[in-house]
Symmetry: C2
Subunit: 380 residues, 2 copies
């Protein structure tokens, strides 16, 4: 059940709560990406609690291939398997099928593709995706859709969107069947539908109107941050948002920079996820309230300060820029681990401050203060 | 100051305490290897406290090349740089100069070699090694020696040992000079001499007799576990131990398996270090009181038990064999991190139990119970 608590007076930003079988999610929220059931960089489920994570996101495609969703089911589902006690979300596998696997063939029934691990031929359609996610027993399952790269051809996008609507109907029916099945671990598994339509406003709106007729626990905007500019992304959110149900959470998939997130909250989005915090950490890029800094820069070699003097993350509480820089340059696992901790903490903290601003009625001034400060530049 | 508390009645095992400027070390002790100033696998200084580490060991050669000992000095020494608050030990750089670097040339004054990172020509002699370790400000510095691979030629070994004695005299003089210097961070830095002599008992004894005349805070047996069998190693310890001062700690460098350690404690050794816990972890090999097990084995795929049901390490308290196995197979950093945590905890716990047995006067029966159980085999 989603409860919309407040909407900002000067923009579309929303403060809400999603009750789930695994706990209540305070929105806006950033979901921490644990692709294969663990955060890249070596953070454990206990570390996730410490850095303020609310929702752990895992990838259906990866877990289906390894260790196998049946194994995760046998071990009691994602929560028991990983030790993460809060809500989880699994994507549908669709995005990875289209971006990672080779030799794919899309048909009405689903997608034939080959595993990026061993090349094995695999079929995945809406029913298979729901079955796998039911095995994983995530709190929220995502609908199986086709994620098209931008730019995309208009007519292809239109036909693909129509098929995605039919796929969502099949997802809904299959999830209902699974949730009623006695062997299912999480019988209250939620389903989010996904809006597509590339950068065509009319297709986006038409598709949103169609999928909102299929009862889901939330609706996502998919197929953005896949090649188009940030301005195009904001234009599409602005176009489609008025057609999204207000009483359901909205999830902007795979987005983005701190600035992107603030802009999307401003436009009425509630859920986010992105690999940016961990991917940036690998290269020594860490986020601060004054923008991004690269620790590999020579000027931090003897800098005894923490990454961010106002940050309370495990890296900033105990370690210096100098030490973390050394570890990253020496390719020590601890360097990556500390940088990922910091970046995820920063994202979770950004969302907490956004919620606080919404609760306190000052989101618009918060937005005005930070939407440029958060843009990429090198502080100090 | 080393205080010998008890010696076992039936064997040479010793229970002692080494007071240092950075805290008291309870012996026998296993030192946890943080080559570049961080444990391989991503454990932080806070994690080290949790797994019962007493001494962190870092490598002079690695830190000299990266980030540079001058940088560590500028940051206040190893403790401040890494955040590890307990005692530290640095090796002399000698072992790595001989095992890692290319194109080395040994002369009376020291060793000319090229960096394994960028090929740069570097010179290191006894004075340079002491200066670097003084910069690092470790609690215990190791003497600069030549570590010869086994088997070694008799006459070469004899000449090398004679040079190593002359090098120790130079180390002692330089360390005294540095400890009296106003700019030195740790003015109470300790120095351990190193016994060499390959597998020749007469050379080992002759060398030990020579170096014990040079006042050191402890004496190490070096040049073992470098190609010879475990039996040869035990034979050499048995031969040289009667010539080691009883009022100084003894350190068997780079050793070894849990069984090796128990056998060496039995023979009168107090200090140990080894990369085995982390190197094994990388391949899914974890230590238990019933021997080593390989988590990659298919039979653990659905095993919900912790690695060791009687273990209280962070990995065993929170995670299953099944999950850790999956992470290691998927090459997730967390898998390595958990396996290293477990293995180091196991080593630290082994030493704690050895000390407890010595304190309780039942070490000999402890030794009899475990010296075969700890041998390598696959439990369950």
């Amino acid at each position: 059940m989603f409860k919309l608590k407040t909407t900002d007076e000067k923009c579309k930003a929303r403060r809400g709560e999603l009750e789930t079988p695994h706990g209540t999610i305070q929105t806006p929220v950033f979901m921490n990406v644990a692709t294969c059931g663990a955060i890249k960089g070596g953070l454990s489920s206990e570390d996730l609690e410490e850095i303020g994570c609310q929702v752990m996101l895992s990838n259906t495609y990866h877990l289906h291939l390894r260790p196998g969703d049946k194994l995760v089911y046998d071990m009691g589902g994602l929560q028991k398997f990983t030790g993460w006690k809060g809500p989880t979300l699994t994507d549908s596998g669709g995005f990875q099928v289209f971006s990672l696997s080779g030799l794919r063939k899309i048909k009405e029934e689903g997608v034939y593709f080959s595993s990026h691990i061993d090349g094995k031929r695999i079929f995945m359609g809406p029913e298979e995706s729901m079955q796998i996610q039911s095995h994983l027993a995530s709190t929220i399952a995502m609908a199986f859709d086709e994620c098209i790269e931008n730019p995309a051809e208009y007519n292809y996008t239109k036909r693909s969107c129509e098929r995605t609507v039919r796929w969502l109907e099949r997802c809904r029916a299959e999830m209902d069947r699974l949730n009623a099945h006695p062997d299912t671990i999480n019988k209250g598994q939620m389903l989010f539908g996904i809006n597509q339509g590339s950068t065509y406003e009319d297709l986006r709106i038409e598709h949103m109107k169609a999928i909102r007729e299929i009862p889901c626990d939330g609706y996502a905007i998919g197929g953005l941050a896949v090649g188009e500019s940030a301005e195009e992304m904001y234009r599409i959110i602005d176009a489609v948002e008025p057609y999204m149900p207000t009483d359901k959470p909205r999830y902007l998939m795979g987005v983005g920079t701190p600035q992107n997130i603030l802009e999307a909250v401003y436009r009425g989005v509630d859920f986010f996820d992105c690999v940016m915090p961990s991917r940036n950490a690998r290269h020594g890029n860490v986020f601060t309230w004054n923008g991004k800094m690269n620790l590999c820069n020579e000027k931090y070699a003897r800098d005894a300060r923490p990454i961010d003097e106002n940050c309370n993350c495990p890296a900033c509480r105990h370690h210096s820029r100098s030490y973390i820089r050394h570890l990253i340059k020496a390719k020590e696992a601890l360097g990556m681990m500390l940088a990922v901790s910091h970046n995820l903490y920063f994202y979770n903290e950004l969302m907490r401050k956004i919620r606080e601003a919404l609760d306190g009625g000052y989101f618009y001034s918060f937005y005005q203060k930070y939407h440029n400060l958060l843009a990429e530049r090198n502080p100090d």
